[in-house]
């Protein structure tokens, strides 16, 4: 995968977030503060713009630029968290003399680093009803696909459906992190907005791959 693929991925996330903006906001209204859709729309919109303004030469630099843009434009909880995820993913791809192509295994490692960044910063574990509940199973699915020697399409589809399942599994959970935790038991019965947006991010890998193929 090259910068073109990753650029398509980010553009696909931005499109999906814009299309689902109202749904994300509604999910956040139920157990948060009704801004998640607007936050990510602003952030990924800015990321697409940043990539267009000054296209990075290498995949690592590209992901770091996306992460930095999210941090500097989103705010809220999701800005630093997703920003860190992309930044750490970019960092894991090496910082000097970067390759212009990354393998599926590289990407899986990068996303694992991103996930580690998120849990380090936010200290949420799976089951806390956060984006981690979609992120973690998606990374595991990717790693499993890599171990099994699967192709990109197959791997991305596995990751996307793991993320989606993870997001859906947040519905009955009682939140222990983020704003939803203030609701205590009342947070149960609603999908976590960050988990829902994380599912969109992994689904966009498939779209980017199809655009490629």
């Amino acid at each position: 995968m090259d910068t073109a693929f990753l650029t398509r991925w980010i553009a696909g996330i931005a499109d999906a977030v814009r299309a689902e903006r109202d749904r994300l906001t509604e999910l956040d209204a139920a157990i948060g503060d009704a801004d998640h859709g607007a936050n990510l729309d602003r952030g990924f919109g800015a990321a697409v713009q940043a990539l267009a303004d000054d296209p990075p030469a290498a995949p690592g630099a590209l992901l770091r630029l996306v992460g930095g843009t999210l941090i500097s434009r989103v705010g809220g909880a999701s800005g630093p968290l997703y920003g860190t995820a992309f930044r750490e993913a970019g960092r894991s791809l090496g910082s000097s003399g970067e390759a212009s192509e990354v393998s599926l295994a590289d990407l899986a490692r990068a996303l694992r680093a991103g996930l580690d960044g998120v849990t380090r910063l936010g200290s949420a574990a799976e089951g806390d009803k956060t984006m981690v509940d979609a992120f973690a199973p998606a990374v595991r699915a990717l790693e499993t696909a890599v171990s099994a020697g699967a192709g990109e399409r197959e791997a991305f589809e596995a990751a996307a459906s793991a993320a989606l399942a993870g997001a859906e599994a947040t519905v009955p959970m009682v939140a222990r992190k983020g704003r939803a935790s203030y609701l205590g038991p009342r947070s149960a019965g609603h999908e976590d907005p960050g988990a829902a947006s994380c599912a969109l991010i992994f689904a966009a890998l498939c779209t980017a791959d199809q655009g490629h193929g």
Binding site: I31, D33, A34, D35, V74, P80, G178, S181, Y182, G184
Partner: protein, 343 residues
Amino acid sequence: MLATTREREQLRNVKKLINSAETVVTDALRGLSAAHPGLRVDPDGRTVSRSGGPTPGKVGLVSGGGSGHEPLHAGFVGYGMLDAACPGEIFTSPVPGQMVTATAAADGGAGVLYVVKNYTGDVLNFELAADLCAEEGVEIASVLVDDDVAVRDSLHTAGRRGTGATVFVEKIAGAAAEGGASLAEVTRVAEEVNARSRSFGVALSACTTPASGRPTFELGETEIELGIGIHGEPGRSRSTMRDARELAAIALDAVDEDMPLSGDALVMVNGMGATPLIELYVVFAEVAEQLAGRGVRVARSLVGDYVTSLDMRGFSVTVCLLDEDLTRLWDAPVETPALRWGR
């Protein structure tokens, strides 16, 4: 710039005094700037600071958070309180870049204290900003405000929210800083105010964010939410409407259970944004009377809109147990758009 047709449609539906959902924060900052020559406002960069710049040798105080809580925080920038504030989007913590700019505007060489309301977003963004500023050689300390007793504190959760006590922390720490206290001392005072303060809020209606154009939750004609925060989140539980006396008792019980009340208190009855002042005085009458019944003397008070939640109807009660030092710092002169005395 005229609002788009879709935006116009939306703003008509929610009937807000805005130009568009996209520009509301910038437009309000333009208004703040026009109304208060004592402030330096950057509506696009989203920072507000004292027009005189940093006070050399004074500890700087910076706060910030999502917009929609006006007058918090920008309305508390000025002599004796904050040096700078950075308002985020509606209900969205500001980004580290704003905080870095605000820190520069507050840094008089004696270090800068961040007053951070305990929300994951605020905490994370201020942490990132503190790292960046520390790299630049600015000494940064942070105090986390977490006064809301509606949320149970626990190691495994995000902890209690920061609400009304933020005003007390900013005023009292601001007075300490103005008085020449060191960063360590200002931080200690801020932490003490937070430790001695508790809040509880009640909503009679949800609020409507300009972007969504819909109430954040629906309440029936006789329903209220108990234990709400300041972001239009639903509270801990839904209940039926009571009179002011009972609602005051519910709030004070919740506070007292968490922090046994006694002695002299600084008490705020705060409106959530769409509550008429006459109703806040009715609530304050009950709060003061019931506190007296619990042996607490209302030594100082605030009644009005200080930490709001857009157009939510409702109120919150914040109690801070005073000692002599804190009382003196509370009484010290302050000159900001929303809090002013002695100057």
